[in-house]
Amino acid sequence: MPQPAQIGALTDELVASITNFSPSTNAQAFKHAKDLAARGLRGYQYGRTNQFDVRAKLDGFDEKFRVLNRDDLANALLERLKELDKVSTKWTPETLSLLLQLSDRPVEKSNVDDLELLKPPQSPSPLTWAEIIADDPLDEEGIWESIDYAAESSEDEKDYRKREKARASEPTPSSSFTEEDSHLDPESYVIPIQKDALLDIRKEQFWRHPAEHQAGGALAEGNHAAKKSASEITELQMIREVLFMLAGLPTTLYTIDTNLREFKINTVFTLGHVVSLTLDDLLSDLGGIGTQIYRLRKWTGNNPPIPLFQTFEAAVMKRLAQFDSSLAGLQSRYLNPEVPVSVSLLELHNEVRGFAGPILQLATLVVAVMPTLSENPFLYLEALFERTSLAQMMSDVGLFQFFARIFLDCLQPYLKPIRIWMEHGELGPDNETFFVFMNDKSSEAASLWHDRYAIRRHLNGELHAPNFLHPAALRIFNTGKSIVFLKELANHHKYTNIAQDEPRLDFETICGEAESLPFAPFSELFGSAFEAWIGSKFSLASTVLRQKLSSECGLWEVLDTFRIVYLGADGSLLQDFADLVFERMDELDSNWNDRYLLTELVHGIYGAVLAPGQAERLVIRRSTTKHRGRSVKGLSAVVVDYNIPWSIANIIQKSSLQIYQRAFGFLLKVYRAKYLLQKVSWNDIQGLGDDSLSRLGLKMRHRLIWSTDVLRTYLTETVFASSTSQMEEALSAADDIDAMAGIHTSYITRLQDLCLLSKNFSPIYQAIMSLLDLVVDFADAHSRRPNASASLAKVQTSQQKRDARRRKLRDRRRSIIPTRQNSSDDGSEDEYDGDAESSTSHDAATSESLYKIQEQFDRLVPFVVAGLKGVSRAGGESAWEMLAERLDWNFKVRCS
């Protein structure tokens, strides 16, 4: 650059420094200042600088400083001047002259301390090799080896030089980032390929021989690679492959046949020190284990819809995870051996067989159970139960614990619906796996116990539940029904049967904490534990229900009512009722069985004796009967109904009421016969002209009375009393409503048989009815005779008796029944008096009747006796034998 240009540039810099104008921002002002400076600098009116003058001025300053007692300044100035002399150039005086001309009262303003601020910061001492070596001794391996820069390109050198240039051209730090940072050279980050390492890796991957046959990846599914030559591998590599195969991972040593889901050995790989046959055998055994476990793994993950199966699958997956962790332990032993281990495939085989035993058995169980699960969803539970018992019998502790734990884990979801049913009496929605289901949702309360819920059974009648639960199924069923019953009693109030201390059903509770096998069979242990579990819920529900049935529902009051009303436990009450009914029968042709009047009669007679509210439940119903006339069978038109409460109706079912009514009817008929016989007095018979006829009449009367009494005694004492007391005793000891209903049903059945009301005993029963009808005939025969005085006296006597009876009844009766007028009694007298036949003809008729009656009696009684003895001998009740004997006495007395 020529001199003026340099001066111009320097002038620009000076102007910019002094004025702080920038040519870019304040161009005009800068130009003006620059012109001013340039004009000023061109001034040649100034002469050359006299260096002696400069020196004199400086001396003058020195003197001035000393005069004004500023020796520090003077000394400092002198010192600087001396230093300057050492490095002075030919322009130093001019520069000093400039400074002298621009000085401004240095004496007043200067301060020596300010010089300290002028000093630049001390630059750090240059780094020496000694310091570098002390900090980082150069003793790294290979540090002195020559580096191969063969891969370096020449471009790197250029960039390096560029960087150096850029650094050199910067005198002061610039405001922007350094150029070297922006010169990022990606190629300098490239690590050169080390070909030796690549060769080593290829050598390790032995399965890539020949590499072009493999399509990448070691897994060849069903594709037998065309390896022409056997490839020898180490035992450790083989162990690794085996462990991977057992873990279900793809390997090259084993190929997976996805259709058959089995592992096949790739026979190309051999061990150098083992005969191939032995090796194949070992590997195939391991492959077999792997195949079974692989199939088990594939089975899991099917996402079954039912929670039971989900739990089973989860339990299997948990055991597979445990197996995998055992495999991982084996792998870690070979990977990070803490102690020296021998690499042995045989040892691995033994170990794998050891801890894979349980899981292999589980795999076979799954294979066996899976196809039939849709038919029997509990098959796997039963199979697990069996395997547990089998393992215990084989004294295999590990296997026993393995299967017992799986079994109990899988049982838990099955217990949930059971628990809900037994605690709340509720069924889960669409729960097909539970054996209780709602049979009839709209069933009435009276059949709640028997009809609303039912037990689910298969077509062959087998219970839809695991076989180990069959013994307890009924109790479970009844417990839930008890809860439902209690809820119904409490008018749907909240009732729950949550036992405070429900025993746990887990392995420790059932089999104990000991590591050894329990002595008792697992089935027994489980059965007792399960019974305890059920009992904790069952006993509470059944106890409460029994109490409620007894106290709130009045079970015993109802039974008392039945006993008194239907079974004539209180004979006097029945006699009163019967007498009134018989009177109406005799004196009214029709409408004698008016239900309203008879109902009032019943309420009046029994109301004082029965428990409060019981008599009001009795209702007389008129029943149509084909029997007309005075036959005892006509009494079937009167039926005593009882309105059983719905809660009691679950025990004493409505169907049993019919038996009670028929038994009552039978008893009433016997009472009728006795009533009619009592109406035929001794005098009536004596009044017969013929002695033989009288004797016959008396004899027949006696026999008929005897037979009637025997029948009545048989019914009331032998049948009703004993059976009912037995039934009540059994009922009080019953566990639940099922037991109670069963007891009552069997009682009713027995009652029916003993009363000869069953179809089987129909001939005998009809014969007895015919026998009772003989009494009617006998009474009729004697009532037609026109024995005015005797009959009148008899009638009067009868009338007196009736009046006395009525008076007695009036004391008992609560209701108001219009007493029949004496005019009706006169009707009976009219019957006697209105008869215009002569006594002779009546005697003849009576004689004929009597002989007929005798004949029929002699026919019927043996028939009944024979029939009763026959059924008694055929394995029936001994009571029949007793009845037959007693009837036979009467008959044999005649013969003798």
Binding site: M1, Q3, Q6, I7, A9, L10, T11, E13, L14, V15, S17, I18, T19, N20, F21, A29, A33, L36, A37, G40, L41, R42, G43, Y46, T49, F61, L73, A76, L77, R80, L81, E83, L84, V87, S88, T89, W91, T92, E94, T95, L96, S97, L98, L99, Q101, L102, S103, D104, R105, P106, K109, S110, D114, L115, L118, E164, K165, A168, S169, P171
Partner: protein, 89 residues
């Protein structure tokens, strides 16, 4: 720093040995330091860079009195633009 100095520096080989140029540059720097201290004594109000510019100008034959006059004129005419410098008069 003068362009020559810059060029000189750019032309320098990246070597650890000191050259004559390096020595003269060092001397030049020392001179400037001393002058800067003297300037501080004399309360001229010149910064280090201004002293360097002035020394360079004087080294190129500029009259020091003319230069002083120019500096005084610039300071008078543009007093508010000056930063850290004192009034010369």
């Amino acid at each position: 720093m003068s362009n020559r100095d810059k060029k000189g520096k750019a032309k320098e080989e990246p070597q650890l040995e000191k050259s004559d140029r390096e020595k003269s540059r060092q001397a030049h720097v020392e001179t400037l330091e001393i002058l800067s201290e003297i300037s501080a004594f004399l309360e001229t109000g010149l910064t280090d860079s201004q002293i360097a510019y002035c020394a360079s100008l004087i080294g190129r034959g500029v009259n020091p009195e003319a230069l002083a006059e120019v500096i005084r004129t610039l300071r008078t005419q543009y007093p508010e633009r000056e930063t850290g410098s004192k009034d010369s008069n």
